[in-house]
Subunit: 429 residues, 2 copies
């Protein structure tokens, strides 16, 4: 009976009066996946405030239901255990805990990450890696190493808004190439873009893509790499969600198939360990020296104590234990979110089918303007990420991204109800 | 007698047999200050390895006497106390210690820095500040906010090599303007450069300059600011050593005299608290929004726990207690170093007269090539910083910078003896 109760709590079965327990049909599983609008997207200007500024600045401010930014709930992170490791490391180091780390980052940490890279299919050596201030710095250094201001780069449409901003700040032109919700970048569209433009780099998130959640099949990864390397276009691979499959093995990185040393792999522990520790890494292959030089002049070196605490946590198995625990939770939280969204949102929505990570990409009926929804949701105390942020040229106007990294609770359920109500109001207006 | 013994240990008095104690003549005080070569300097190419790479990479490697990089000895930093504060902060925060900090940096830290800014003559508000990954990131963001690739900037000659590298990495042309060893930037030379070139920014280190150690007088600061603001040239002020006068009050920042909102102030706690905590800050005035956006796309945010630990250390007076203790020590260590250098180095040297910080700038006889000295010293287990690193066009070929941040001991004394021997050998060859 206890097992039944547990399954019921998890919404996996339902009790029907006088009939017993039944496996709950997951209506959400029948919802189709979103479609990226084909072809060129309309340029969008934010006339008033940039919603991204609002979104990013809300983080520390008012207590909004946090469905906007891609952040795990603190209670789902191993923060307390990690802090204990940090205190032990600091005690052990004594005065030298205050010293500069080397620019490439503590060797102990690079050694642990190199060991883990076997799981990604990469077999990196510690000296192949440079530790960075999160994946953000890694991506920024990668772009600076292979591009000059004025160059064009390929990005996915949709893509993580940080990449779009970064391209803008570095004076790069971002060429969006649509992705398939289940399979990743549209290979034909990519081919066409590479043919029509002089491209300095291509930025992809093959594993548990942000915002869509797909994981590219190995065959497709190989195919894309060959296509890029034939044209001598470096690939910058963003792998921040790779450690978070909901089930099954950790997917390989595209760098695992990198025969011509043309992939720069960027990753971090910000989504899996501690966002605020700012620990990322970059395996830049032949651009390693360039990246290290740029790292020195961008931030000199990283926080030694935090780097060493993370190294110890990786070494002693704390990280793996944590991953085993959290992977499934994110899968369940996404399933919950999907059900609530299907229950509450207007008819005709489409939902992504993430196989890892904690993000859900929703296509709303075309009449629902997600920027309007963003503002009215915020006024109602709910933060969401509107679609146009995810493409350098705007578009995705009726899409939103929902963060499922927070523990599911009544507030969350209520918030989805309110969001659905607001979406319907916008649809009818 | 104990007092005499202490003064003797500190080399301030000397015992003369059967005569008593006498105030020790500081021969070093009579040595003239270095002169910056006037006019345009010859471009210098490093044909083989770049000595700066060697210097920076040695940090974590072989056990060299650390006279090269500008680092305090770990035992002169409050690392252990700070780590205790860190552990307490982490315990208090619990799971949320792993969370993202806001992009501008923890408000608690910005509040403490804003309070301290009264001592700099600035009266900043917490919202005027953005926390950065050391002063390195602050300087990089400042340059990116006010310059475009291809622009020219004024730098001091000599200047901190990080600025030269950064300018290069950002595609900026650095125009060196000579400094006077005691008074700072040569005002006439600056005027001429501003007249002859279109200058996008000027980077100065007015307080305890690296490598020379001067502190500009307030009148000169005002004068230079007026000169720059008349020509609408933003000033980027590097104030990393400002908290370290050997005696007397903390000097004011140039930003204190900034009537036209054209000064971007950059500072850090890397030289005074914990290099490895990577805590810097930037007060960018009207460029604040631009800087914050660039910060987001360069590194997103900083290490929350370290920021909060530093805030607490500043708040509870630990930092001020530490400063009172260490300021005088650096003065004494520089005096020791000067004496040893005068004793051991070839005749005809000139030494800077730093009034704060822990760096000594030495002009050797013209025949002593400092790059040669750098390599032979390194082979003998001693790291020094050769002069040509401190100017974008090379030059300062017979200058070296010596780090006096390390506690004076027998190894140090021996190392200066060896350096003098090597310098004489080069002079004669």
């Amino acid at each position: 009976l206890q097992a039944y109760t547990l399954l019921e709590t998890r919404h996996l079965i339902e009790a029907r009066p006088k009939s017993g327990f039944f496996v709950r049909a997951r209506v959400a599983d029948l919802v189709p996946a979103p479609k990226s609008p084909a072809g060129v997207q309309k340029t969008m200007e934010f006339t008033e405030v940039d919603p991204l500024d609002v979104l990013l600045e809300d983080r520390a401010g008012a207590r909004l239901t946090p469905l906007g930014l891609a952040v795990p709930a603190p209670d789902l992170l191993p923060g307390v255990k990690l802090a204990r490791t940090l205190a032990a490391v600091a005690r052990k180091l004594g005065p030298s805990g205050a010293a500069y780390d080397e620019a490439a980052g503590a060797e102990a940490l690079r050694t642990e990450i190199a060991r883990r890279s076997l799981q990604w299919g990469c077999a990196l050596k510690p000296d192949d890696l440079v530790i960075t201030v999160g994946a953000t710095e890694a991506l920024s250094l990668a772009l600076r190493a292979v591009c000059q201001p004025g160059d064009s780069i390929v990005v996915e449409a949709p893509t993580y808004f940080g990449i779009t901003r970064m391209a803008h700040d570095l004076g790069l032109r971002a060429l969006p190439v649509v992705v398939d919700s289940d399979h990743g970048i549209d290979v034909e569209a990519l081919k066409k873009t590479l043919r029509d433009h002089r491209v300095a780099a291509c930025v992809l998130t093959p594993n548990f893509h942000n915002p869509v959640g797909f994981a590219m099949a190995d065959e497709r990864k190989k195919h894309v790499i060959e296509m890029l390397s034939r044209r001598r276009v470096p690939l910058i691979e963003d792998d921040v969600y790779g450690d978070l499959p909901h089930a099954g093995p950790r997917p390989r990185c595209m760098k695992a198939f990198d025969a011509s040393d043309s992939v720069i792999l960027c990753g971090s522990y910000s989504k899996t360990l501690a966002p605020g520790y700012r620990i990322g890494y970059i395996a830049a292959g032949r651009w390693r020296k360039a990246v290290l030089d740029l790292k020195r002049s961008a931030s000199l070196s990283g926080p030694l104590l935090l780097n060493l605490a993370a190294a110890e946590f990786l070494r002693n198995g704390g990280y793996d234990r944590y991953l085993r625990h959290v992977r499934q939770i994110y899968g369940e939280q996404i399933a919950r979110m999907k059900e609530a969204v299907v229950d509450c949102f207007p008819k005709g929505i489409r939902l992504s089918r993430p196989r890892g990570g904690f993000l859900l990409w929703c296509e709303l009926p075309p009449a629902v303007d997600s920027i309007k929804l963003f503002h009215s949701a915020r006024a109602a105390g709910i933060s969401i990420a509107p679609g146009p942020l995810f493409c350098p040229r705007g578009g995705f106007r009726h899409f939103i991204r929902l963060n499922c990294g927070q523990t599911w609770n009544a507030q969350m359920e209520r918030s989805i109800g309110i969001l659905g109500h607001l979406a319907r109001k916008i649809e009818k207006s």
